[in-house]
Symmetry: C2
Subunit: 129 residues, 2 copies
């Protein structure tokens, strides 16, 4: 059995993610973590994030040519995203505001683990400029 250990580095990564609603990327998490634990390396942050994604505690949000951003999944706060193509801002959209999406017409035998819904567009602030 693989054993997962609790380390201060991982605790710090989780703490940073929990404290932020900005969907930070790995470098931003790293910077924040370093404020508490200056010696933590970026590699360690990546390894911690990978583990959290694997555990389902965090969801990655990808965009072309940009660093992956990480979304902490809070209990009872399941949500989708609205992504601004201009400034990159990511807004949460509660799942409760979208009708349930049936898994119909998928390839036979395809096992869904996660449904990602993203509204791509232009945020109010960017639309104004």
């Amino acid at each position: 059995m693989t054993m997962v250990r609790q380390t201060k580095q991982r605790a710090a990564v989780i703490e940073v993610l929990q404290a932020s609603r900005a969907h930070p990327d790995a470098a931003q998490v790293h910077a924040q973590v370093r404020e508490k634990l200056p010696s933590v390396s970026l590699g360690t942050v990546y390894r911690a994030l990978d583990a959290l994604v694997r555990d389902g505690m965090v969801t990655p949000i990808e965009r072309v040519g940009q660093a992956t951003r990480y979304d902490y999944r809070r209990e009872g706060d399941d949500h989708h995203h609205a992504v601004c193509r201009t400034c990159g801002a990511i807004f949460d959209v509660p799942v409760s505001s979208v009708p349930p999406i049936p898994h119909a017409h998928l390839p036979a035998g395809f096992q869904v683990t996660d449904v990602r819904l993203e509204f791509m567009g232009v945020c109010p602030s960017c639309a104004r400029n």
Copy 2:
């Protein structure tokens, strides 16, 4: 006014995308383009793909730590995707098989240009192994 020119390189990129249902990445498009036009560079392929994405003729599909893949949007073949986390295969899911998704509860003034829906999971072939 900026003028967009038609070149054989871009025509070849479009041709490759139209001919494929495999959602190729930039390197794969490049390889295919080179079969016809051996001198085309990878940089040119990236520039062509960027332009097509900007025009809305192609949709990028991102995955953590993997190359962006490109989806040619055929007239009357609007679709979402089912992505296998294990082998990376991407399956098309017709939009007609999913109920319309209301743009409710988005940030006030957010202008939606595109709705992306991805079913993440394990494909039948990978589930078997």
